[in-house]
């Protein structure tokens, strides 16, 4: 059996950076910076207040240190909290930015993401676009495609800055209700300095006809990226949303502290998928994105459903627990995750399922793959409250170690009523030599054999991704695994 070794060369193809004219804030985090940010975005009074309250609270708390990750201490005062390309008109995007996204394969023009066709031309009216995209470059949303078409269905899909201007009542109603500013350190930081993100509202009874996609691109150095996403699905609606991200390969750590809040009303469903490919740092652990994210769904309505599906292959440190609060009776929460760590990467990720309503159900399938010197931790909490009668949880966490890295599984089960059932299983192991031998004896080279087995390991999770992105995830996984064979 061949030995595995660390990645010899940096295969991160998105590691280039773009030179463009930007407007940057000087580094530092003070109350004045917060006010300046709010003023620049021309935000109404209540948003400024929201930010300032969070900022003031931030001064009273300290960064948490309990996760199984280590990183160079972040000097919050040396980061700039706003950097955006200098252009005002969305129809006049600078060429270098367009080129960036061309290179990354992100369709800025209104054209079908898959077919590569321009659907604005009347000749192609019968081609129905499948993906609408909102593109965020550093602190600002550059373009949002198919807004008009979506509007015809009553669907609002725009940047959160735009939503604050156009739909303030709705933003005000939901912002901070799922993740209050005081929830944790990074959520608090985000609440003070959030820049842009996506706002999405699906009206009653509407099934969103396209995949909604937000693509985040970090470009500027020494900045922090703080997006804020808010998705609301009204009664009987459905939306499938995907988040993609990349960043340049810099020598310093880049901080990404995002907050994502989802709310589902009666019988609504949100499918939230993430394919995370932030720059992971080089083989010595220098640079890389620090991905500290708070994501939570409030299944408010009866029989509502939220599925979190994530494929995490990048970032130097990943620290996130997409969670569900299953408040409405009969609601369902799901968490499917594949987290790959290699080189010096560290991941401490997992989920929290809080069962509040009756007959609620949650499923957790977490697959961790680790090699090199990396550390991969699953941390989960399943809590069945007293009133959550007849609830069910099934959890399966498996860790695949491709060499002697570190795999940690830390689940907690708390059950406060006796009509519910919780089942949890976990296992840790390595690639089956027998499987690899068999595949090779049928002509597959060692790399493909490993790829095959690992794909099988991740199958349960990949099946949950929207079709198009399952292919991307597969590709990303094989690129990540390249170098796993010495």
């Amino acid at each position: 059996m061949k030995e595995f070794s660390n990645v010899a060369e940096n295969k991160y193809t998105a590691g280039f950076s773009t030179v463009t004219d930007t407007e940057d804030f000087e580094p530092g985090l003070t109350e004045d910076i917060v006010k300046k940010l709010s003023a620049l975005k021309e935000e109404p009074e209540w948003v400024t207040e929201f930010r300032l309250k969070a900022f003031r609270h931030l001064q009273t708390i300290t960064e948490p240190t309990w996760a199984h990750v280590s990183y160079k201490p972040i000097d919050y005062q040396s980061l700039s909290y706003y950097s955006a390309p200098k252009f005002r008109d969305k129809d006049d995007i600078p060429q270098e930015i367009l080129d960036t996204f061309e290179k990354l394969g992100v369709p800025l023009h209104e054209r079908d993401a898959l077919l590569g066709l321009d659907t604005t031309k009347s000749a192609n009216k019968d081609i129905i676009p499948t993906v609408a995209i909102d593109v965020v470059f550093d602190s600002v949303s550059i373009a949002t495609t198919f807004q008009k078409e979506l509007k015809e269905h009553g669907i609002i899909f725009c940047s959160i800055s735009e939503a604050i201007q156009e739909h303030p009542e709705m933003v005000k109603k939901y912002l901070g209700t799922v993740i209050p500013s005081k929830d944790n350190y990074f959520a608090c930081l985000n609440s003070a300095v959030f820049t842009d993100g996506t706002f999405c509202y699906i009206p009653k009874g509407v099934r969103c006809p396209m995949e909604l996609n937000t693509y985040f691109r970090i470009n500027a150095r020494n900045t922090g990226q703080f997006e804020r996403t808010l998705i609301i699905a009204d009664d009987d609606s459905y939306v499938s949303y995907l988040e993609g991200c990349t960043a340049p390969a810099y020598d310093e750590n880049t901080l990404h502290a995002a907050v994502v809040e989802l709310v589902t009303h009666d019988r609504a469903e949100i499918k939230y998928s993430t394919v995370q490919n932030w720059y992971p740092g080089d083989e010595n652990g220098v640079g890389g994105v620090l991905n500290f994210v708070t994501k939570r769904a409030m299944c408010k309505g009866e029989s509502s459903k939220v599925s979190w599906t994530q494929v995490e292959t990048g970032s130097a440190v990943t620290w996130k627990y997409p969670s569900c609060i299953l408040k409405g009776d009969n609601s369902v929460g799901e968490f499917y995750s594949v987290a790959v760590t290699k080189g010096q990467q560290m991941a401490d990720t997992g989920t929290k399922m809080l069962h509040v309503g009756k007959n609620t159900k949650s499923t957790i399938i977490s697959k961790g793959i680790s090699f090199g010197n990396s550390s991969n931790t699953y941390r989960g909490q399943v809590r069945i409250n007293k009133g959550a009668h007849n609830s069910r949880n099934y959890t399966q966490c498996d860790s695949l170690m491709l060499d002697n890295s570190k795999a940690l599984t830390i689940p907690v089960v708390m059950q406060y009523n006796n009509s519910s059932i919780v089942e949890h299983e976990a296992s840790t192991g390595k690639l089956s030599e027998e499987s690899l031998y068999y595949l090779q004896s049928r002509g597959l080279n060692p790399e493909d054999a490993i790829s095959c087995v690992v794909n099988g390991f991740c199958k349960d999770v990949f099946q949950k991704l929207p079709l198009e992105f399952a292919a991307e995830a597969n590709k990303l996984l094989s690129v990540t695994l390249e170098g796993a064979v010495g």
Binding site: N404, Q415, N418, E423, G429
Partner: protein, 403 residues
């Protein structure tokens, strides 16, 4: 005895005052184990174990109901005496009695007792195995009147009944309060020893810090049970398994208002480890189990199987850690925790953990929390067994009590 009243929370502050003539004041012990005593002292002074986050789900506030004068003020229940055969070893705070096992002067052939009075107690050599954990066992270490223990000679094959607590109605029994026991059990190489351990606590609170050394090729089986009474116990066991040894611990419990059983096992090469716990808890009982199996050597096999049935207002917490070092290849480890929650007010918390640092292993864990299976209940009823009776049968078979 002074009239000073205190609970386990205040104890760390009182330790340096040398109450009860504990270890910290005893010159003889300070000579033998001074280094270690200082290390523990620093740890306890740094942070009071009562506030240790480790105890998050263990309801330690219930311990405040056990005040040091409780035992002497309450009419103590008569301990279970009939089950003790003629030969057994009795351990109590600073006291060991190998009555009937030992010949008064020369001792039995297969055991040497360890205590501060015996000449070659080798206490200073045992020091290295004791490391502060920041938990109550650190207090047990410092506040004991003196460490006691037994060394079983190599190649001995014996079954030894043991009681933790006095089995005779003695005046000393009346004075026992928050008693702190530091016990060393050293099983010589090649021996096979079974210890039938019975824990007695009366209405008091008892802390135990027990070190079990299972030397090369030795096998130690612990069969633990608890005399049903109003007392509380916190039992911390540290087991060091030398290569090629076998360790098994079988506990049946749940009859005391508060219990904490924390077991850490350090496992070297070619060892076998089994930890089985079966608990039936009802009323307001709080039962906490913690096991940590640290695989340091290669080719070892471990199984943890803890099952609890909960009724009434009971509270159960389980935390099981399996740590496999990078060098511990070919480890086969499995951990199971199953809970049967039978009443509306009972609470079960389960935290199974895996910390794996090498891929050449096979490790798994599983835990379940549920009520009695409706299909099984229906099946038994369909064979003429009443619902209540069927319910009881299922609880008993869950715990493996129907043989």
């Amino acid at each position: 005895m002074s009239n000073l009243e205190y609970t386990i929370k205040e104890l760390p502050d009182l330790l340096p005052l040398g109450i009860r003539n504990n270890m910290m004041q005893n010159n003889m012990l300070l000579k033998d184990m001074g280094d270690s005593i200082n290390t523990f002292k620093e740890s306890v002074l740094l942070s009071n174990p009562y506030y240790n986050k480790f105890y998050k789900h263990m309801k330690v506030e219930k311990l405040l109901g056990f005040i040091n004068t409780t035992a002497s003020q309450t009419k103590s229940m008569s301990p279970v005496m009939d089950q003790f055969q003629e030969t057994h070893i009795e351990f109590e705070d600073g006291y060991i009695d190998t009555k009937n096992i030992s010949n008064f002067y020369y001792g039995p052939e297969y055991i040497t007792s360890i205590d501060r009075f015996s000449a070659n107690n080798m206490l200073n050599l045992y020091q290295e195995y004791f490391v502060p954990t920041g938990r109550f066992s650190d207090i047990a270490y410092l506040n004991t009147i003196g460490p006691v223990g037994i060394r079983v000679k190599p190649k001995t094959k014996r079954s030894i009944p043991t009681s933790y607590g006095y089995t005779t109605k003695d005046i000393r029994d009346q004075q026992k309060d928050i008693s702190c026991n530091l016990i060393i059990i050293d099983i010589g190489a090649g021996s096979t020893v079974t210890m039938e351990e019975t824990f007695l606590s009366n209405p008091a609170l008892k802390l135990y810090n027990i070190l079990y050394l299972v030397r090369e090729d030795a096998k130690l089986v612990l069969n633990r049970s608890f005399a049903p009474d109003l007392g509380a116990h916190i039992i911390e066991s540290k087991v060091i398994q030398f290569p090629n040894s076998k360790f098994e611990c079988n506990t049946q419990g749940g009859s005391n208002p508060y219990s904490q059983e924390l077991t850490e096992v350090e496992i070297w090469d070619n060892c076998t480890t089994h930890i089985n716990g079966r608990y039936y808890i009802e009323k307001d009982i709080v039962n906490n189990v913690y096991t940590k199996l640290h695989h340091k050597g290669t080719d070892s096999f471990s199984r943890v199987d803890v099952k609890t049935v909960l009724e009434g207002n009971a509270h159960s917490s389980f935390r099981g850690e399996i740590v496999v070092d990078k060098e511990a290849i070919n480890t086969d480890a499995d951990l199971k925790n199953n809970n049967l929650l039978c009443s509306t007010k009972a609470v079960a918390i389960s935290e199974p953990q895996l910390d794996i640092n090498t891929k050449e292993i096979q490790c798994a864990h599983g835990c379940t929390v549920s009520n009695i299976d409706a299909d099984q209940l229906y099946f038994l009823q369909s064979r003429g067994i009443s619902k209540q009776h069927a319910s009881n049968m299922l609880k008993e078979s869950f715990l493996g009590l129907i043989l």
